[in-house]
Symmetry: D2
Subunit: 351 residues, 4 copies
Amino acid sequence: MANSIGEQFRVTSFGESHGPAIGVVIDGIPAGIEVDEKFIQSMLEKRKPGQSAITTQRKEDDFFEIVSGVFEGKSTGAPICFIILNLDQQSKDYSALKNIYRPGHADYTYQKKYGIRDYNGGGRSSARITAGWVAAGALAMLYLKKVSNIQIEAIVSSVYNIALPKPYDQYNWGSIENPVRCPDKVTAEKMEALIEEMKQTKDSVGGTIACRILNTPVGLGEPVFNKLNADLAHAMLNINAVKGIQFGSGFESAQLKGSENNDTIDGNTNHDGGITGGISNGRPIEFELAFKPASSIGRPQNMLNTDGSIESINIEGRHDPCVLPRAIAIVEAMAAIVTADHFMRNLKFVQ
Amino acid sequence: MANSIGEQFRVTSFGESHGPAIGVVIDGIPAGIEVDEKFIQSMLEKRKPGQSAITTQRKEDDFFEIVSGVFEGKSTGAPICFIILNLDQQSKDYSALKNIYRPGHADYTYQKKYGIRDYNGGGRSSARITAGWVAAGALAMLYLKKVSNIQIEAIVSSVYNIALPKPYDQYNWGSIENPVRCPDKVTAEKMEALIEEMKQTKDSVGGTIACRILNTPVGLGEPVFNKLNADLAHAMLNINAVKGIQFGSGFESAQLKGSENNDTIDGNTNHDGGITGGISNGRPIEFELAFKPASSIGRPQNMLNTDGSIESINIEGRHDPCVLPRAIAIVEAMAAIVTADHFMRNLKFVQ
Amino acid sequence: MANSIGEQFRVTSFGESHGPAIGVVIDGIPAGIEVDEKFIQSMLEKRKPGQSAITTQRKEDDFFEIVSGVFEGKSTGAPICFIILNLDQQSKDYSALKNIYRPGHADYTYQKKYGIRDYNGGGRSSARITAGWVAAGALAMLYLKKVSNIQIEAIVSSVYNIALPKPYDQYNWGSIENPVRCPDKVTAEKMEALIEEMKQTKDSVGGTIACRILNTPVGLGEPVFNKLNADLAHAMLNINAVKGIQFGSGFESAQLKGSENNDTIDGNTNHDGGITGGISNGRPIEFELAFKPASSIGRPQNMLNTDGSIESINIEGRHDPCVLPRAIAIVEAMAAIVTADHFMRNLKFVQ
Amino acid sequence: MANSIGEQFRVTSFGESHGPAIGVVIDGIPAGIEVDEKFIQSMLEKRKPGQSAITTQRKEDDFFEIVSGVFEGKSTGAPICFIILNLDQQSKDYSALKNIYRPGHADYTYQKKYGIRDYNGGGRSSARITAGWVAAGALAMLYLKKVSNIQIEAIVSSVYNIALPKPYDQYNWGSIENPVRCPDKVTAEKMEALIEEMKQTKDSVGGTIACRILNTPVGLGEPVFNKLNADLAHAMLNINAVKGIQFGSGFESAQLKGSENNDTIDGNTNHDGGITGGISNGRPIEFELAFKPASSIGRPQNMLNTDGSIESINIEGRHDPCVLPRAIAIVEAMAAIVTADHFMRNLKFVQ
């Protein structure tokens, strides 16, 4: 179904940007998992708007509430529903967008597909929906923590033309304290300056995020049609603005010979990105994502009107000049959802 | 489930490289579709080994048989089962591979996941399995032909360091007569020479395949978790050797500003690759895939033995020096499967 | 997944009896359906406690709220989430039930399966959860009303040893004004008196509910594993206290000869209950359900304690002496969910 | 999908009565299960036609072949495909049935749903398809045998008006040597005589089958929408000719008071049929099925012609006067498929 992801750890998303609330129902979580609310909230903080000078200045507090599935702090085996109220849903008048299709946004495609569209703040297509995914991913992390040593980490590896020098594993991914979430201080500062410039010039920039999943057992992933890389790609390409993914050496591998690309036994290479034949091979799972620049920019653009005419319009608002720092939480969450799902699917093979 | 793909047009795969047969069961195909056997066979010919000097010289005839679901040449609404006999299943002795994990192959991961492994020609992990996918994809194309004008085409866009000059749409994709399946004659000849060289030097090369889906209606794709790009990525990343995918400008978009990357209304740009907010927007759907070089090469390589020791082994056999020309059929087939599935899913919204 | 039902019209349930709220997420509803809140509320009224002298005197107001998927009164194609707050969640102290397994209830099985149990009012296993199903079913009815003439009706056909005289189609099912919801006034009064007696004697009674689905097109139902009768049976057996189902002549058919049981062409018989080979045949779909008597009775019963000892306990509370009058709404709702789902699944075969 | 059943142990069925073969693909079976071919064949023998004087005298040998998923006698984790060739597919001319809708059969409903119909021997709607289910069920039994003590047994409990005296557990279900498969010799002989009479008079009779699942752990079944009873009901109602199911006391419970029906702690009663709140409670799981009499009888009947006229026709052929003895194998197989599926689903809750 359109709004669910996962087979055994299954997340169903609902809600619109400016409805009363957004949320998720998580089905398949075993009983007895401690639902650490502080941890879940901390993941939401990583994603929330207004967290630094280089993100949108919209204020959304993104407090989540547990509606079901938790009893005395632990999961019961019943579906867990998290809800995040849309506290500022009434704060803005979107009627100016009622008859306009913003470029790069889903306005036009939603209208044509459904014949009706909640135009307030993007409605169902808004990236706000991902707050629910992050809460679900945080729960997946709590599950993984309980049953494994698996660790999931993502970093901003490039912004526009500023790239973090490779290899990425020379950096400490775990304790990034800059607002860009790039692990190299010097690179991060350049990125920050660039994003600040975009804010001033009312433009936006894209970039790449690298993600790794450490300490997976050999065996996650189900050939032939639910290969771990296929399911990760599926999850990631569902994230707003993601336009590409590569595992291990990815597009570079396409320019290598077999004799160069086959990983050596000593573990010194990881061209395959930790997945062989669709199954985790015990090395770090590594992939990188391409994010297009945010489509919302504060400059006049030609836009199609619902009546077929073209208008040059400037969409006012507090836009993100670069979504990548906030998207780190979403990438980690989606990676956790897929990993938890495959961890469960793999259980029957290890009895 | 591990061996099924699609929701309403659903393909279930079975079989091993050297068992009696491989096959697929296709569920969800409406009644009344003409099952053009010649067309299906022609797609299998595009994928089959031994079709030219630059593919593996293994002979596999890949004739398919209809087991069910077709009556007097038409689909009945019952599941269609296609079977392809493994005619040369006894032709080779694979016992030398019994105790060895070939680099880049799924030998090690299967063994660790399942504790048992059909080592004959790769067993379940063999790319031979994709012959069934191609037959299913051909059926998807017949369905699409009946209900729409949708057209699916793929080309080899690079091999190793030889890249087809962009933009790709300057070429005629439809009638490629060279064995590499690259639409530019000059580039194709360079690629062919390189692949021939790999064959001589017992090495292999990777490359990229570009695919486009033309004439889709606006509206294919289901947000938020079955975005059309997410489902295409999922399908493609299930293809053996695929390590990356990008839609539209993909990783290049990551280096653009919003003011550069937003597609213009005049239709002159297609940075989004024909999909906005997860839904087809009416422009050509365009994506590109990274294939790693074939892992099987005729050179000695260090391999892990099942007893934990390391051996330098030369895997004899008739390997593909470059899988891309044959993979064209697989990419087109998987694209057709996803497109047919989403075409069906979209039906209830256009009544 | 445990908490979802349906393939194309898919309902996901969440919540516990005494948590903050219960609810449902409905995925797959097409855009443009008018979400008539009054009608949905009226279905909830049919199910709610305290509606007459012969139901439990617990007061639950069961007002539903739309969280998502509706814009200006119409469905948008996004998932619809309904929530019903548990307003009186704090009203009672259930700690006496913490260590006891009530007979006939899911206390013991939940505890053994999950190792943890929300014992407040039955938690996840409470029939209160079905309020969400009723709201989802009401939405299914609104969908069916928009796209068809299909009509769904249920009646109480027996209570304990008081049976409505057959054939049931001699009665007017549509406008039942007695609290038992049995269409024959005389029978209804006897049933009411009996239920009143049960209330006095602190016992309970079971019975049967007959349901029919009128005006279905020929063609609903998917052989071989999603026959319409199979999916209806699945839905109905998920209702608390249902222990059996029969279609058409059901268990009576088992005592007939083929020459007696085959339905005649003139339409005068309906032994098959409107479904042949798993597909609706155009005659009324008819089935009947066996409900066991409510397990909660106000008399001392021997119960197993969590420490393994046996205690004679009297569970205080305002129990339903007979659940059938309120269950009518649940049966109709589940029938509507299955019918809507199969209506959608059948669409691709009628283009 | 229409042709698949089960979530983690998933069976996909394909084939028509008179096509080249019927079969199943079983996905989700863990690696390392010994695939005992003799046992599987023995289950097929229990179902096959012509096995005794009281079944149809059609000869179908029903030998199955393993196409995939088994290596050196053991499952590999890959999907297992079984095929049963339709050896006598050419033996009969069905063209007389081309334009006629047989009463009680799916001829009319298939034609109206799909607009096309394989009329040879019932095509996809033929009970012959269940041979594949039986092979899949036999595999489920082999899995259950490996991981549990669960035992599944079914008996014929009534034929027409001849009923096996209750309680059923006074009989030895395990070693029934009469052709009716009723465990009481005297009753069996009466049934046999009746069936013989039907054969002579070219009529047919229905009846009931009782099934029990012994030694299940507490905990199988997933509330709220995949209750074990709901999934068993779903599986059973997919069997051709089944028109009803009841668990434990079933329709009798509907005529009891709560004080009579609640199961006692001592284990002396089993009104709930071993399932409480949708979860196995450790007592024997018990249910009973109503089979309508076989629709095919060798007497003239009025039938609808595809041109709308009515004809009195006598369908020649070697019909089953009573399908129940052969259906025992199907009931046991479907029970095993559901039980294996829920056994797997329950694994993550017992780690």
